[in-house]
């Protein structure tokens, strides 16, 4: 194909007055955009290779670089946009499925931004978190149904296995393979420091990380990579992954090139083979099969660990959740359509699934109507972007949230959405040793700790403003929310009133 249909998406703008030709951009770009031209005695760049990850921009000591969207354009067309046209060129070139990564970037409504939070005025006092205790400790797991007492009438604490969180935020599943060793170590160390959990995803648990088992959720997904007795025993909880928000209904595929020795050992598959997770679990073709897997895992771990079932938010999510709540699972994790991924077919990422806020509201309401909300805790993920999103999620009815994209951002990710290339300049979504070492877990874990600490402060501040000093009094407290710019149906599903009502 001699004709190049695609024009580079970005322009690398170098301010020649500022560039000191230190070549850090050249050394740090795994895409080989920059190089020093010895004839011209200056730095030049090939913007066609640029993915706009900002590694060069961030490291340039004289701020000589910036990346902009090209203003080269097709004739304007509201229907056939440049993006649509280019995707057709790409597929006409390759004959392949379009791939992308991270979450759905399309212009769908963001329900978090259409809800506003309450504050106390006069009729009850706001509470100052700097002066009064402000409690955000959260337990995840089934609530007991009967009170048992010993012969002296003392309550026997018959609690089923649970997770105890010092902050209602956990790091959601990202496999070792999709992200790097150092990214995993950062997450594990931050989880321990903050009293929360990270999640292995479907990549097994690296032998070095067993020591953080008390802060680890081990995942069992359709490929069952790395699953064995010690692995199940190592974690604080076991998560059965049915689906993920970025790609509901389909499996996963880690190309053999990424299955190097360490990963192959952790996943327990031969080096260099493709790690393919089937779309469904081939032992779960119906809800009663799920129950069997839940109990198999509980049996295998002596009923000592809570079992999480993670599903993506799809149209019938409330009914599905109701089935899961009766399956023996202790926790339901729901992943919204904005949830990230290391690689997904673009069309699926951008068109399948529903917003997490709507899914959460309908699941919580449905489980309450059926009187089974206490059977399970609800954890939601799929683009929780800040502490206000968390407050809103908990007020809608979530027990805790999962974050992943936000965690990666704090590790340096710039959402260039090219994880699938494996050349992550930030050392996150890559397995190349020289790139992986760019993420020093000393720095990575500290940044994650900072993020959660900051969010913890903000959560307490907003709770105090509402006159709430214990997170359980916010959970499902939908009167603390009002909709803005939502129609009747949306308000009905969210179970909230409109601002002004």
């Amino acid at each position: 194909m001699a004709i190049e249909y695609l024009y580079p998406q970005f322009e690398v703008l170098r301010n020649p007055d500022r560039c000191i030709a230190c070549r850090v951009c050249e050394r740090q770009c795994a895409n080989e955009v920059h190089h020093f031209d010895t004839d011209l005695q200056k730095m030049v760049s090939d913007e066609s290779k640029c993915v706009n990850c900002h590694r060069c921009v961030s490291l340039c000591p004289t701020r000589a670089l910036k990346i902009t969207k090209t203003n080269h354009q097709f004739r304007e067309n509201a229907n056939w946009t440049g993006e649509v046209i280019e995707e057709i060129y790409r597929q006409a070139n390759s004959g392949g499925t379009l791939l992308s990564s991270m979450g759905n970037p399309k212009n769908y409504p963001i329900y978090w931004d259409k809800m506003l939070i309450n504050a106390s005025q006069v009729t009850n006092p706001s509470i100052d978190p700097l002066r009064e205790p402000m409690e955000i400790r959260t337990f995840l797991g089934k609530k007991p149904t009967t009170i048992e007492r010993d012969e002296n009438g003392k309550i026997i604490p018959n609690l089923s296995p649970r997770l105890e969180l010092d902050i209602p935020v956990m790091f959601s599943a990202m496999s070792y393979g999709s992200i790097s060793y150092n990214a995993h170590e950062s997450l594990a160390r931050a989880s321990k420091a903050m009293g929360t959990y990270y999640n292995t995803g479907e990549g097994g648990l690296h032998e070095d990380f067993y020591k953080w088992g008390d802060n680890t959720i081990v995942q069992v997904a359709s490929g069952r990579f790395g699953v064995e007795k010690d692995y199940l025993d190592a974690g604080a909880a076991i998560e059965i992954k049915i689906g993920q928000g970025a790609k509901p209904g389909i499996g996963g595929h880690l190309p053999g090139t990424k299955v190097a020795s360490d990963i192959s050992r952790t996943r327990m598959i031969p080096e260099g083979t493709d790690a393919i997770s089937p779309a469904p679990h081939h032992d779960i073709y119906s809800i009663e099969d799920l129950r069997q897997l839940v109990y198999s895992l509980k049996e295998a771990t002596a009923y000592k660990k809570p079992v999480i079932v993670k599903i993506s938010a799809v149209h019938n999510v409330a009914a599905i959740a109701s089935g899961i709540a009766r399956s023996g699972a202790d926790i339901i994790a729901i992943d919204g359509y904005r949830g990230g991924t290391g690689a997904a077919p673009t069309r699926i990422r951008d068109n399948v699934g529903i917003p997490i806020a709507l899914a959460l509201a309908s699941v919580d309401q449905r489980l309450r109507e059926e009187g089974i909300r206490d059977n399970v805790s609800i954890v939601v993920g799929g683009s929780i972007r800040n502490s206000a999103d968390i407050i809103k999620a908990i007020a809608l009815g979530a027990d805790a949230v999962y974050i992943a994209t936000a965690a990666l951002l704090s590790l340096g990710c710039h959402l260039c959405r090219t994880c699938q290339n494996g050349k992550c300049n930030w050392g996150i979504a890559t397995q190349r040793p020289e790139l992986v070492k760019r993420l020093n877990p000393d720095i990575g874990s500290e940044r994650l700790i900072n993020l959660l600490t900051a969010w913890g402060h903000e959560i307490r501040e907003m709770m105090g403003g509402m006159g709430i000093n214990s997170i359980e009094a916010l959970r499902g407290n939908r009167l603390m929310l009002r909709g803005i710019g939502l129609n009747e149906k949306e308000l009905e599903i969210l179970g909230i009133k409109h601002a002004g009502e």
Binding site: N124, E135, F139, P157, G467, E472, R475, G476, N477
Partner: protein
């Protein structure tokens, strides 16, 4: 205009209570005097009283007090009552015209016993059967409202200042060993009498001061267990919570208090292991029933009363003792006005329940 029950109204209030541990019964004069001292804590949009031991002649019957909007709904409701209960007696509740008590509904009292065959048919306990019938009337029959349903006790409430409500209901004609009173300061016009306090469920009555910030979390949790919060008031939700915890879950009063006004985790951490496990259990198992924000409440029940403040003690509440009498009120003045000489007076700490019950020899005689 919407009436209360169709939307949530925050309100502030005054509460007062008198309890005779020896079972001695006194008329309503003193409690009216006490609550009227705190006139400025209410705004004329709600007042009410609960009294225990007032119907000794019908001690084995559930005493239903009902508001009816009009005679037609009364007919429908009475048919329902007839079907489910044997009615030992029915009459208008005697009232005295008062210039500031207006918009009176029809106010009726029924002494009832569940029909035996209904109990056999439904296989419910007597109490549960009554609760379900009351819930059904309040939820399904528009214009009918059961505002009192316990044995040998009764609630009297209206829109107005509490002292006027007391006169209106001729409380000087009732004798009780336990009185509680409430003056309400809602921030909106309730539109009808049901929203006034006390709020009752069987022999549990609640008077409450403060606007809780956990309302919707509590409401949505308790509704999961078959309760319907029709009034959308904090007090209604609190009553159901206590009914659920104590009657249905078998918690003791103290345990229930530690659910709704749970100690802070930092306090729980410092407890001896067994106590710590118990408190952690209560907080975790009944997380949705923790009540947040300011409240002082008095929970009346057969043979006793419990006073409780929120965890931070954001509302005032004092308790006084003199011989066999215990006084509880939002303000000390409301106690001193009826009993200037006290053996002891103190402000209970946030989350620490004060539970007063009849002396052993007075029990059963109430």
């Amino acid at each position: 205009m919407l009436k209360e029950g169709q939307y949530h109204i925050p309100s502030g209030c005054a509460i007062s209570g008198i309890f005779h541990k020896d079972g001695r019964r006194t008329d309503g004069t003193e409690i009216i005097r006490s609550i009227s001292t705190m006139h400025d804590r209410s705004n004329g949009l709600g007042g009410g009283f609960a009294a225990y031991g007032i119907y000794p002649e019908y001690a084995d019957c559930y005493a239903f007090h009902l508001f009816y909007d009009d005679p037609s709904v009364k007919d429908i409701c009475e048919k329902f009552l007839e079907e489910h209960f044997e009615i030992a007696s029915m009459s208008r509740i005697p009232t005295r015209k008062h210039p500031s008590i207006t918009d009176e509904p029809l106010i009726w009292r029924y002494f009832v016993v569940p029909r035996r065959y209904k109990l056999i048919e439904t296989q419910l306990s007597e109490d549960e059967f009554v609760v379900r019938c009351v819930t059904r009337i309040n939820h399904k029959f528009a214009g009918a409202y059961v505002f009192s349903s316990g044995k040998n006790c009764g609630v009297f409430k209206a829109i107005g200042f509490p002292e006027d409500v007391g006169l209106y209901y001729r409380l000087e004609e009732y004798e009780a060993y336990s009185w509680t009173a409430h003056g309400r300061y809602p921030t909106n016009t309730p539109g009808w009498w049901g929203g006034a306090h006390p709020f009752a469920m069987l022999d549990f009555t609640i008077v409450h001061n403060g606007e809780i910030s956990s309302y919707d979390a509590n409401r949505r949790s308790i509704e999961m267990h078959g309760y319907k919060c029709d009034l959308l008031t904090d007090t209604e939700a609190i009553t159901y919570i206590f009914d659920y915890l104590i009657r249905r879950k078998g918690l003791t009063l103290e345990e229930a208090a530690h659910v709704v006004a749970a100690p802070f985790w930092s306090t729980i951490e410092k407890m001896p292991p067994q106590q710590k496990a118990e408190y952690t259990y209560l907080r975790d198992a009944f997380a949705g029933l923790l009540i947040n924000g300011p409240f002082s409440i008095m929970l009346g029940f057969t043979g006793g009363v419990m006073a409780l403040n929120d965890r931070l003690k954001l509302r005032s509440m004092v308790v006084g003792e003199k011989d066999e009498d215990v006084y509880i009120a939002s303000e000390e003045a409301a106690i001193r006005v009826i009993q200037p000489e006290l053996d002891k007076i103190w402000a209970p700490r946030g989350g620490e329940p004060v539970i007063v019950t009849l002396n052993e020899d007075a029990q059963g005689k109430e």
